[in-house]
Symmetry: C2
Subunit: 245 residues, 2 copies
């Protein structure tokens, strides 16, 4: 039986989604919980490999169970029971076709980046947003949207360690909105390169601070050169929101 | 010189606003920061005495400085520097008249209580909302609003340790709204009794769960009897939002 799960987590204490030797990952925590519940060692496939510190409100993953049968409600409450010491929450469990693949079948991924733009440090929202003290010009950042929407070579906005075969990606949409001190950057695409959103937001922030003009942002993308990226926004403000199939 | 400050804090690690012998308070942290900045021992007067675990996005306080003079921007950044190990942020500093009193001059206080109504545990919002798993009936909770708005004897919804002279308070307004899984309870009044909001929300939740009907909520208020209170909502979901003068 194959199960699809939707997962929310606070990325702060983890090395990221994926299992690594240097610390605790979200994947390892959930795999251990599945093993505790089913007495069967699973492999969990996630739709997106979030970095250390990146949060999720709608990560999707799947795993197979060959022995024990449990209804989806019992799986959800059982996994949440075994996960309770971690800031990981299983929001939903469904049975899916044995051909379903959380990563390869995903047609669209949605991310949100959150900046808090004010001159005072964060307290309640510490670790949950990027604090930018210099006043950001929303209109200038929004003027960059048409430059990055659509199909482009995103080499400039891609980690040197990115394992994607191609740097060419299609950004379906980018939206930038402000609500009081909060600036939200919404990104939708079939898939993203490693550090793509954090690189774009870090560079948009330089445009917002008026250290860069819109033209320079355009030139940076067109340069297809990682060294032309403005800055890498911290993981704290990034949320993996939703996966469509 | 008298200064008015606006303060945001995550209440989780504190024994509450007010100095106490049994642990660290927000007041003590800020008084220590003021002393570090001015080399003068201040007394800080807060507009509201939030309990342990209660958050603030707009607590107001004042203090006097007789020796050193600093501009308000330097006070704000200086205090935030000394407070940086704590989840406390000074949002604003202004010079005020020597007669201004943060507590006694307040004409209106605004609080927000936040419930997350879903069957999965909290992760990102842990400590920042009350998780209620049973589906809440918004309309039935809203039907209780006319019962508590206005001037009433709130003995039922008041801590037995409350030090207010009178249990009679005027609740200017109560608003209950839902946004996805979030249920927000907004309260505005000149002043509140100890545990008043948490007692009201805890009891409204029983109406929302349909364990109580609206009539019983009305009878509870009218009983003027603490033992008739439904439940006390946890501190995690309560935010002290704003003070008007």
């Amino acid at each position: 039986m194959r199960y699809k799960i939707i997962i929310e987590y606070d990325g702060t204490p983890f090395v990221g989604w994926q299992r690594q030797d240097n610390g605790l990952s979200v994947q390892e925590c959930i795999e251990t919980a599945i093993e505790s519940l089913f007495q069967e060692k699973p492999t969990l496939f996630g739709a997106g490999r979030t970095d250390s510190g990146v949060h999720a409100t709608g990560q999707v993953a799947h795993f197979d169970i060959t022995t024990k049968e449990l209804d989806t409600y019992s799986i959800k409450t059982g996994l949440n029971h075994y996960l309770k010491i971690y800031p990981i929450s299983i929001l939903d469990v469904t049975e899916v076709d044995a051909k379903f693949h959380s990563r390869f079948d995903a047609t669209e991924r949605k991310y949100l980046y959150r900046i808090i733009n004010r001159t005072s440090p964060l307290s309640i929202e510490k670790g949950r947003a990027w604090l930018v003290m210099k006043d950001l010009n929303l209109e200038k950042m929004q003027a960059c949207i048409p430059i990055i929407e659509g199909k482009h070579d995103f080499t400039t906005f891609r980690s040197v360690n990115c394992q994607s075969k191609s740097p060419i990606k299609t950004l379906n949409s980018c939206k930038i909105t402000r609500q009081d001190d909060n600036i939200y950057f919404g990104f939708v695409a079939p898939s993203f390169l490693q550090h793509q959103i954090r690189s774009i937001v870090g560079t948009l922030k330089m445009v917002g601070e008026e250290l860069w003009d819109v033209e320079r942002f355009k030139e940076a993308l067109e340069a297809k050169d990682r060294s032309k990226c403005g800055a890498l926004a911290p993981a704290d403000g990034l949320y993996f929101m939703e996966v469509s199939y």
